[in-house]
Symmetry: C3
Subunit: 146 residues, 3 copies
């Protein structure tokens, strides 16, 4: 890692599950939110309380937590093969259609931090409500070296 | 399995797909609902027609169907390595934010029934509507022994 | 492939991600829409602007794009083991409950085109809004031969 990006401490789960797990060569990171020091940096819906740019920033913050979880699970990326899929959920105002631009906040971070290992497929969804009133939730699948 | 929990008969799919499948060492269980003897034990939205406790119970019932599907796919858990990920969808009233507490109904069951093999990553979502007017849908990914 | 179905050119991503990726024996196709020649063949919500039959047709068109992406990723299906999971998202009018019938448009296509290799687990969801005002988004996971 030559990136100057500093990863946060990986957040704890908010229920009776693991923050992440690896089995059978495939790893999953539980839904990550734009938490900074345990507190949501943004709340509300993109297209209402939040602009697209703020949504982009929220997606980047959630993406930093994704990377922090993967770092913990893969011995600081030593056993990481690469990302597979990002499921991105955006709490959106009615009629807001620019979820892809919001989620680029996470996708761009993964490219910047991991290079080719950050390449990933993606799904993008608008939802009416996320846990904790978060504007963003990211779920990531990755492969580990065999 | 030393658990005294009795698993139901795994429900059939409600469309032209499989209830579950394993390929390449990874297994997927199709979306499961709180069906008991082919009938939804709960309908409606958590935070409106249903309390959080009823949602928890609905998640546990859907979780029993998940376990029943995995039992069928893994020769009664003999070939199961362990769970990977639970995607939990909660049909929620506007403003209801306690999806994690609802989904603990499934996560706690998996821990109780499978022990360490039940460890899993999780995503939690509120949705405006689920098939059949179900309050809960659970989709589970698992790994099989190589 | 003895099917007479002609696959389209796989659409490009609408953000900073890949249209599909394979790592560790598992492949993911990014969310696919009912795009024909780069333009959505249907827009709006099933149960409002669109009938169930039109939703079925939209799901089939999105499914053709899924197959086109998999063809590109697997050397024209030569390295495909088989499908694993279809996550199907239906932009639905309030009270519309027949998401499974809509998504059969994709599931039936996969069976018709791939035979047993098309067998898959499935999740079905109604969402309030999809990117580009699409009525359908399909995300597919598959396994490759080892």
């Amino acid at each position: 890692m030559t990136s100057k990006i500093v990863l946060p401490t990986p957040p704890n789960p908010v229920g009776s599950y693991k923050a992440g797990i690896i089995r059978g060569g495939i790893g999953f990171v539980s839904g990550q939110f734009p938490l900074v020091d345990g507190k949501l940096a943004f709340t509300g819906h993109v297209g209402a309380e939040l602009t697209t740019d703020e949504g982009f920033e929220a997606a980047r913050l959630a993406g930093l937590n994704v990377l922090a979880q993967i770092a913990r699970l893969t011995d600081q990326f030593n056993t990481l093969d690469g990302l597979l899929r990002l499921d991105g959920y955006v709490a959106s105002a009615k009629g807001f259609l620019d979820q892809p631009a919001v989620l680029n906040g996470a996708s761009d971070l993964f490219a910047e931090y991991l290079g080719e290992q950050g390449d990933h497929a993606r799904t993008a969804f608008s939802v009416s409500q996320l846990p904790l009133n978060s504007p963003i939730e990211l779920a990531v699948t990755f492969a580990v070296k065999s």
